[in-house]
C-alpha cells in the first residue's frame, strides 16, 4: 500500500485537520469529525446535512458551504458515521427550520442515520427529514438486494437541495427536491483497478491487468460483471445503455451529464470519457443541458469512472446554476 498517511487509523481525522486548515471558511470539529460552514446555523434556513464513510472526497466535507451543505459527518473509511456524530451535527445546524439528512442507500448508513434521527427528535426536538439516494442501476432494486446504492446523484442532490434551501423552501420542500433529484437520476460505474482500504493495507479485490469491473460501487464492492478492458468508446456505451434502459431521458429540458472520476483516473481521461459519453447521448437523442466532469465522489485510489444522468426541468436547471461556494464545487459567488 502506497499512501500519504501516518497511521491508517488516523487518516480520517488527520485529513479533516488539513481540510480545516486549508479552508478557514469551514469549521471542523475533529472530535466529532464534523465539517460545518462556519456561519451555521443560518437563521431561517432549512439546514442540510450529509455524511457517510470517508474515502469519497470531496464528498461530503468538500461540499460544505453556502449553496450546498451546512455540515458533513465523516465516518471511518468506507464506514458510515455513528449516530452520536449525526445528532451533534443536526443540533448544531438547526436554526429552527428543520434539518434534511441526505443519506446514501447502504445498510449501515441508513441504520445509523435512522438511529440519529430518532435520538435527535426525542432528545432535542429538532425536526429531521431523511431522504435516501439510490441511483446505481448496477444493482437491481428488488427483494433480493439491499436496494440500489446511492452514488453520483448524491453530489447533484446536495448541490440542488442546497440551492433550494437558500431560496427559502421549507423542510418538506427541500426534502422533496432531494427526492425529485433522486427519482430523476441514474448512475453506472466502471473500475479499472481496485482501491486499497488503508486499514486493510492491500487491494480489496484482484483485477487482472486485462480486465475491468462493470457496475462497480464506490467502496470496492465488486460489480455486476468482469469483462475485458475495452476502448473508451465501448465503455461509454456500457455506462450509458443501462441508464437509458432504466429511465427515459429524452425530451424535456435535457439532462445534467456527470462524468465522475473514481480517484486515480486523471482528468485527461475523464474529459475523453465525457466526449465519448456525449457522442453516445447525442445518438440516443438525449440533450445535455449541463455537465460536470471530475473526481467528485471517489473511491480512494480506484481507477475508473462513473456516469450519472439527471433528467432536469427548468426548476432543477435554475437550482443547479445558483451560486455555490464550497471547496469542491464553486461558482456564481
Amino acid at each position: 500500500m502506497k499512501k500519504l498517511l501516518n497511521a491508517p487509523s488516523d487518516i480520517v481525522v488527520e485529513s479533516l485537520r488539513g481540510l480545516g486548515l486549508a479552508h478557514p471558511e469551514l469549521r471542523v470539529d475533529l472530535n466529532h469529525r464534523i465539517v460545518y460552514r462556519s456561519d451555521a446555523p443560518v437563521p431561517g434556513k432549512v439546514a442540510l446535512i450529509s455524511g457517510g464513510g470517508s474515502g469519497h472526497e470531496p464528498l461530503h466535507g468538500g461540499f460544505v458551504g453556502p449553496g450546498m451543505l451546512d455540515a458533513a459527518v465523516a465516518g471511518e473509511v468506507f464506514t458510515s458515521p455513528v449516530p452520536d456524530q449525526i445528532v451533534e451535527a443536526t443540533k448544531n445546524v438547526d436554526s429552527g427550520a428543520g434539518v434534511v439528512h441526505i443519506v446514501k442507500n447502504y445498510t449501515g448508513d441508513v441504520m445509523n442515520f435512522e438511529m440519529a434521527a430518532e435520538i435527535a427528535a426525542a432528545e432535542t426536538g429538532v425536526e429531521v427529514v431523511a431522504v435516501v439516494t439510490d441511483d446505481d442501476v448496477a444493482v437491481q432494486d428488488s427483494l433480493y438486494t439491499a436496494g440500489r446504492r446511492g452514488v453520483g446523484v448524491t453530489v447533484l442532490a446536495e448541490k440542488i437541495a442546497g440551492a433550494a434551501a437558500d431560496a427559502g423552501r421549507d423542510l418538506n420542500g427541500v426534502a422533496d427536491i432531494v427526492r425529485k433529484v433522486n427519482e430523476n437520476g441514474r448512475s453506472m460505474g466502471v473500475a479499472l483497478t481496485s482501491c486499497t482500504v488503508p486499514a486493510a493495507g492491500k487491494p480489496t479485490f484482484d483485477l487482472p491487468g486485462t480486465d475491468m469491473e462493470i457496475g462497480i460501487g464506490i467502496h470496492g464492492e465488486p460489480g455486476r460483471r468482469r469483462v475485458p478492458l475495452a476502448p473508451a468508446k465501448e465503455i461509454a456505451e456500457m455506462l450509458v445503455e443501462p441508464i437509458l434502459a432504466d429511465l427515459d431521458f429524452t425530451g424535456g429540458d435535457g439532462v445534467i451529464a456527470f462524468v465522475n472520476g473514481l480517484g486515480a483516473s486523471p482528468l485527461l481521461e475523464l474529459y475523453l470519457m465525457y466526449g465519448e459519453v456525449a457522442a453516445v447521448l447525442e445518438k440516443a437523442g438525449v440533450r445535455v443541458a449541463r455537465s460536470l466532469v471530475g473526481p467528485y465522489i471517489t473511491s480512494l485510489d480506484m481507477a475508473g469512472c462513473s456516469l450519472t444522468l439527471l433528467k432536469v426541468d427548468d426548476e432543477l436547471v435554475r437550482l443547479w446554476d445558483a451560486p455555490v461556494r464550497t471547496p469542491g464545487l464553486r461558482w456564481g459567488v
Binding site: F78, V82, Y106, L143, Y144
Partner: protein, 218 residues
C-alpha cells in the same frame, strides 16, 4: 448453577471477545473484501477496544444490565457501518432484558439473547438465510433455548450454542446474500463466508469459553 453469569464472568466474556476480534481482525476484513468493503475486522476491533476501555474505567457500571448497556452504546457510537447498529442493538436489548442485577441464570441469559436477536432482526429487517450475522445468531439462540428447555446442563447448552453459531457461520458459504453490501453481488456472493456471521460465532465461542468453568478455547 442458577447464577451462571456474574459481573466478573460478563467482563471476562467481553474481554475475551475483544481479544478474539483483534486476533481475527485481518481475517474478518479479508472475508469482507470478498463480498463487501474490507472493513468489518477494523470496524469491530475498534468498537470492542472502546468497549473494553469503557469497561475498565473507574466510573464504569458494576452490574449486568448497565454493563451491557454501556457496551451496546459504545458499539453504536464507535463502530458505524452496518455492524455498529446491529451489534449495538444486540447488547442494548440484552441489557434491557437483563436489567440491573448482579448475575444472570441460564434462563435469563437465554432470554437476554432472544431479546437481542429480536432487536437485531428488527433493526436490520433481515431474516434467516440472507447470509448475514443472523445466520449465526439465530441457530445459537435457538440451540441455547431448546437445550435448556430439554434440561441440558448449562455448560453443554452454551457449548452447543457456540457450535451452532459456527455451523451457522459455515452455512453462510453457499448462501446467496439478499441483505447488506454482499447482496450487490447477486450470484457472485455464493461461495463466500459472511464476515458478520464469522464475528458472531466468535462472540458465542467466547461466551462458552468464559462461562464454562475451566473451558479453554476450541
Amino acid at each position: 448453577m442458577s447464577e451462571i453469569v456474574d459481573v466478573s464472568t460478563l467482563k471476562s466474556w467481553l474481554i475475551r471477545f475483544a481479544g478474539d476480534v483483534e486476533e481475527h481482525a485481518a481475517e474478518l476484513t479479508e472475508l469482507d473484501s470478498a463480498i463487501g468493503d474490507a472493513d468489518h475486522g477494523s470496524n469491530l476491533a475498534r468498537g470492542m477496544k472502546a468497549v473494553i476501555t469503557a469497561l475498565v474505567d473507574d466510573e464504569a457500571p458494576d452490574s449486568i444490565g448497565p454493563i451491557l448497556k454501556q457496551s451496546g452504546m459504545t458499539l453504536v457510537s464507535t463502530v458505524g457501518g452496518a455492524s455498529g447498529p446491529l451489534y449495538g442493538t444486540l447488547f442494548l436489548r440484552m441489557a434491557a432484558s437483563a436489567g440491573d442485577c448482579d448475575a444472570l441464570g441460564p434462563q435469563s441469559l437465554a432470554q437476554a439473547f432472544r431479546a437481542g436477536l429480536d432487536g437485531v432482526a428488527a433493526r436490520g429487517k433481515a431474516t434467516a438465510g440472507e447470509k448475514t450475522l443472523l445466520d449465526a445468531l439465530i441457530p445459537a439462540v435457538d440451540t441455547l433455548e431448546s437445550a435448556l428447555a430439554e434440561g441440558t446442563p448449562f455448560d453443554d447448552a452454551i457449548r452447543a450454542a457456540a457450535d451452532a453459531a459456527e455451523a451457522g457461520r459455515d452455512a453462510t458459504i453457499p448462501m446467496l446474500a439478499t441483505k447488506g453490501r454482499a447482496s450487490y453481488l447477486g450470484e457472485r456472493s455464493v461461495g463466500h463466508q459472511d464476515p458478520g456471521a464469522t464475528s458472531l460465532a466468535l462472540l458465542f465461542r467466547a461466551a462458552a469459553n468464559t462461562m464454562i468453568d475451566g473451558e479453554d478455547g476450541k
